[in-house]
Structure formats: structure tokens, C-alpha cells
């Protein structure tokens, strides 16, 4: 009786305010969810969004780090950056050249490493760990290491070339040698990242197409070009887009290897911004350059996305 009464009570209690209870429950859940994400949102707002807006605001003012008088100067800094021949004819070409060279070489080598690791062999686990080592070393450390590796007096590379009886170039004193060292370092650092993601992609591919190709006696190259690559295109696409955007803002390697030299010849976008903002202490001009760079990479990113989408559509 008590149970029936209780049930009735529950039923009657539940019948009328059910929506209210549900909405209260939803409200509590919403509060809970908001509470959970609020710290992250606050941190993001304070340390990412607000500084971006402060930086954008600074780009329209006269604002040096040592004397921020903040007078409004409109587009003066943008005009300066966009008419700076160094920015237009050295910095931007270097940035895109580094992006193309580093991403394409890392992709090619990463694919080779991934295919090798995918085949499986006795010491595969060990090799896999060794291959991934560069990923575990900070770019600052590896770049410093590379600077000494390519040192003309003490470097391992020149010691080896000397042992072979070959010439010993002044690697960091010549524009294209220095640029080559930057690309080499970047590729060395990022090939494992490509290898790791492509290996994951390879492992997720269905076996049937490969078995069918084997039955048809297709050669390895044909299987690679007609089955593996088309099926991996989504993974390749995402890797290329992420890495290309990331490469646009490369700083550590270039700064530590060449500092943008000799004579600004290897300067890339992020070094230009850094030099203006923190070397010349012209925070406003550095901010203007950063905003211009953001716009450029947005356009480049959208173009890359469009290209990749088209690429994937074709592969479907």
C-alpha cells in the first residue's frame, strides 16, 4: 500500500513538474559544463585573445617597448612593412621556400620511413623508437646541436668531409649553404612526425585491396602509387596542411642556426617580426608585420585546404 501510494505520489509528482525537473537538470548540467570549461576559456581569453587584440591595436599606434606613447598613426606601420624590400623580396620568398622544401622533403622521407616500419622486421620496435628520437628533443636543443655539427672548425660534417679529402665549406657563412642547413634541420626534426602519422594511416588501411592487387600480380611501385597513396590521401592532406601552417611560423631553428644571416639572407617571417618587436623594440611595427603574416597564412591555409579537398575529391 505504502509502495502503491508512494508510486502514485512519485507519479503524480513526476507528471506535473517533469519538464521543470528536466529543465532544472539541464540547467545544472549546463552550469556544470560551463564550470568545467570556464578556466580554460578564461586562460585562453587572457593569454591568447586579449593579447592578440592588444597587438592588433598596437599595430596602429606608435608603440615602442621602452616608451609606449601609443599615438594613433593609422596604417603607417603597415605601409612600412609592405614597402620594405627585405620583407617582400627576401623574407616572404624565404618563408615560402622553407615551407615547400621542408614539408615536401619531410613528407617524402616520412612516407619512406612509415613504409619501412609498416613492413615489420626483427628490430622494428627498436628502429621505430630510434626514428622517433628527434621528436623528443626540443627544437632549441637540436638546432644548437646542428649549429655545432655544421661548424666549420669543430663540426662533425666538415671533419667527415675532410676525412674524405673533400672541401670544407663555411656552412653558415653562405646564403644557400646556410639555408640548406636550416631545411635539413627542419626535415630532421619533422620527418618522424610525418612517419608516425602516416604509419598510423597505413595500419588502418583495409587489407582487401592489397590482397586483390597481389592476386593480380601488381608490382610494389604500382601498389604504392595506385592503392597506398590514394587511400592515404586524407591523412597526407591533413598532415601537409597542419605542417605547412606550422612551418610558416618557424622561429627556433632559423634563429639559432643563422639568426637570419648572413646579412638577412636567410631571414624568415617570424625572425622579421621578432627583430622589429624585440630587437629594435618597435612593438608596433612588429605587430603590424605579425598581422600581415596572419592574413597571408590565412589565405595560404585556405588555398591549401581547397587544394587538398580537391585532391581528396579526385581520390574518391
Amino acid at each position: 500500500m505504502a509502495t502503491i501510494a508512494g508510486d502514485r505520489q512519485t507519479a503524480s509528482r513526476g507528471a506535473i513538474p517533469a519538464t521543470r525537473r528536466r529543465s532544472r537538470l539541464m540547467g545544472e548540467r549546463l552550469y556544470f559544463q560551463i564550470g568545467l570549461i570556464l578556466p580554460s576559456v578564461l586562460v585562453l581569453l587572457l593569454f591568447q585573445v586579449v593579447p592578440i587584440f592588444i597587438g592588433m591595436d598596437a599595430s596602429f599606434r606608435r608603440w615602442s617597448l621602452y616608451d609606449p606613447d601609443k599615438t594613433w598613426v593609422g596604417l603607417e606601420h603597415y605601409r612600412y612593412v609592405l614597402s620594405d624590400t627585405n620583407f617582400l623580396f627576401t623574407v616572404l620568398p624565404n618563408t615560402f621556400l622553407l615551407m615547400v622544401a621542408s614539408v615536401s622533403l619531410s613528407l617524402a622521407l616520412g612516407m619512406a620511413v612509415a613504409l619501412l616500419l609498416h613492413r615489420g622486421f626483427a628490430a622494428q620496435r627498436l628502429v621505430q623508437t630510434v626514428v622517433l628520437l628527434p621528436l623528443m628533443i626540443g627544437p632549441v636543443i637540436s638546432s644548437t646541436m646542428m649549429r655545432w655539427t655544421f661548424n666549420d672548425q669543430f663540426g662533425v660534417v666538415n671533419a667527415f668531409l675532410g676525412w674524405l679529402g673533400l672541401g670544407q665549406p663555411a656552412w653558415l657563412a653562405d646564403r644557400w649553404y646556410a639555408f640548406g642547413v636550416i631545411v635539413f634541420t627542419d626535415v630532421w626534426l619533422w620527418t618522424p612526425w610525418f612517419a608516425l602519422l602516416l604509419l598510423a594511416g597505413l595500419k588502418s588501411l583495409p587489407k582487401e585491396p592489397f590482397e586483390a592487387a597481389a592476386l593480380d600480380a601488381a608490382g610494389r611501385w604500382r601498389v604504392f602509387t595506385h592503392i597506398t597513396v590514394p587511400m592515404l590521401r586524407p591523412v597526407i592532406g591533413v598532415c601537409v596542411v597542419i605542417r605547412a601552417i606550422d612551418c610558416f611560423r618557424t622561429f627556433d631553428q632559423v634563429w639559432l642556426l643563422t639568426g637570419g644571416g648572413p646579412a638577412r639572407s636567410t631571414e624568415v617571417f617570424s625572425i622579421y617580426v621578432y627583430m622589429e618587436a624585440f630587437q629594435n623594440l618597435n612593438f608596433a611595427r612588429g605587430s603590424a608585420a605579425a598581422v600581415i603574416g596572419t592574413l597571408i597564412i590565412m589565405v595560404a591555409g585556405l588555398a591549401l585546404y581547397a587544394l587538398i579537398n580537391r585532391f581528396m575529391d579526385v581520390s574518391r
Binding site: 552550469y31 564550470g35 661548424n151 648572413p262
Partner: protein, 434 residues
Amino acid sequence: MKRKLGGLPLAGSLLLGLAALGATPAQAEGTLKICYMSQPVIDANVAMMEKWANANGVEFEKNPMSYTVYLPKMSQMLSNGGTDCDIFWHNDDWGQLWKQWVEPTSDVAGMDKIRKGPMRAFPNDEGQPTAVPLAHTVGTFFYRTDLVDEKDVPKNWAEIVAVGHKLQEEGKTKWGYVGGMTHQNTWFSIWWSLWTNGCDIFNPKFERDNAVLDKSGWVPTLTEDCHRETIEFWWDNLHKDKISPEAMVSYGRNEANAIFMAGESAFTFADSTFWGEFNNPEKSKIAGKVGMALWPMGPRLNNNVAWDTIWAWGIPKALDPKQKELAKKALGAMLLDHEGQIAQWKGTGGPPPNTDLWPELASQDPVFAKLKEVVFDVKDQVLSAYYFPNWPAVQKAYADISTEALSGKREDIPAVLERGMKTLHDAAVQQIAK
């Protein structure tokens, strides 16, 4: 209960956020916070102030930071009226950059004992000094005593080439001269030789009064013979006489010092503060075999020149009067700490700022006596930088121009220097602040 649970994270987040926004570090009375770049000479100087703080019941908080972030970080702190540091490391290059944010220091005990010349980098608009020196940093020509007798030490550019070449031919050393040359290291090759050739970066030469330089329009000397000769001297050293490695255009002082300390060069030029490192047997193969000499002169100048600048400490103007007083007491104690300053010199090679100690040191220590002879006693002292806000931009522009000239063909040097005139002038006159 559920309602409470739902509200908890929200309330917690808000509290956390408010706490983060409102939190300020606790500042105990009698606490001194010191910000600096960790380096043996500076560390030794900090130790003197720490000793004073411990003896006087003052809490002493050390905040070492990286050189690469030091300038922007401190500029940002000072220009925002920040008080994160009660005492901070100050450098002659930045003397004019921070002048309006820094406390005058003429009332610090012991300021009457220091050398006045290097303080020309640190006056505020009222002409008051805004720094307290911690050590002299002087440009020094170093040579290998095991390879070169004192009487054979080069006295001019031609002798550097001749002696260096001879030692290379005899297989005693791989290089004649190695010194830093890239951005922020231009002093250790090009600039010291530029000054010994009676030349400078802007006209009027050796002028450091910004009003005079402003009036003269910051005209570079790049196209003058004295400047071209200096660049050609280094071009020949790198490419023709090969007493220096071609890659030297990319060397900072770390690389140059490493080659000298590995015993592969007969001569180098560096701050005297590296004396200790060059003679440290754990780091250097040439420990105990290093001598100091007068700068070898260029063809256009007969009298010796030298530079004598200082590393110093500053006090933010934004501090409250009590903190300023405490900071000044600590700095005064450092300046008057004879024992500590002698220990600084003996342990690190950082010449003490208190000149009362110099005669005593010179009579007891032949190394100090030599440094005094080749730097402090030289009558014509050069100020090794220009003390105005655009100096970092000028320094970078100059390094790029000289690197380009030294990396190309010899016959292209005049054209590169001619092109550099506008670049260097623009770097000097660009207006980035009122």
C-alpha cells in the same frame, strides 16, 4: 545537492579566476629582489649584495634570466611602472633607452670612487647618473704568450697579418686571428679596428652627444676611406691572407672564443671579462698562456685608443621610497666592499668599479697592472656604442652591411658600403617613439 554540485565548478572557477587576477606576490618588509643575467662577474657582484643583505636581515631574492629575453622583458617592466625588481642589471647600451624609468644614483655611497668616463652612457635628461657600476667591461686584445714574445706582439694591422701568417706557416697555429663578427659581436673584429684607424660609425667621428649627432643628421662614415680600408683589411684577412676563417662572418663570440681556447688561434679580441674563462684549465687548452696587449693600430692613427665601459645596476623609479633606499644601501655596500671587489677580480677577471682599489691591485697583481696599462691608462678612450634608443637597430643594420661587404667580392665593397649609407642612416633616424 545536485544544484550544489552543479554550482561548485562554476564558483570554483570564478574564485580561481578572481584569485589569479587579484593575486600579487607577497612583499615582505626588508626584501630585495634583484634581476640579472647570470654570468660569473655579475654573480660575484650579486654575492656581495647578498652578503650585505644576510648581515642586515634583509631577505634577498635572486631572479636570473636569459640574455636573449632580458632587454624586452626589462623594457616592458620599466615602461609599465613595474616593480618586479628592486635592482636590475643595466648595460651601457641601454643607458639611454631606460633613462626616464630609472632612479638617479648620485646619492649611493661610493659613487665618488668610480670612474666618471664610462658613466657618460647613463645620464638622464637632467644630467644625473642613473646607474651604479658593477664591473668594467673593456675591449682587450689577447695573444698567446707561448707563441708570441711580448716584444713581437703586433702593434699595427700589418703586423697582425705578418705574425699570424708566420705562425700558420710554421704550423704553430691554425689561424692568426679569430674574433666574433656577426650581429652583436661586431666589436670583436670590425669595430675595434675601425676605431684604431681613426674612424667611427657616424660623423662627427667619436662624437656621442646625441644633440650634436642629431644636428649633423646621423651621417654614416661608410663611404669614407678610413671605413673602406677597415672593411678591406678584414676582407683580406678572410679571403686573401687567410689568417682568419672565412666563416668568421657568421661567428659570435662563443665560436671565436672556442677556437681561441682550443689553441687554434694566436690572437683574439674580447671583453676583459673573458680573461677568467680563457685561463680556466677545465675549459681552455691555453690556460696560463694568455697575454693582453695594446690594440694594434690602423694606418691612419698613431696614438693608442681603448674602450672602457661598464656593466651596472639600476633601480626602477617606480619603486616606493623605502625600497629605493634599501636598494641604494645594498648597492653602496657593494661599491664599498673592498674584499668582495678584489674577490670579484681574482675569481672572474671583472675589474672592480671602486678605483680606490686599483693602485693596490696593480701593485700586487701583474695581470691587473697589464690591464691598467693597456686599457685604463690609455688616454684616448672610445665609447663603444651610441647611446640612443635606435642603437639596437643601427647595430643590426651595420652588422648586415659589413657581413654583405665581407661575403662578396673585394671590388664590390665600395658599392655595398655606398648602398649601406641610406640603410644605416634610416636605422638611426627612424622614429619609433616621441
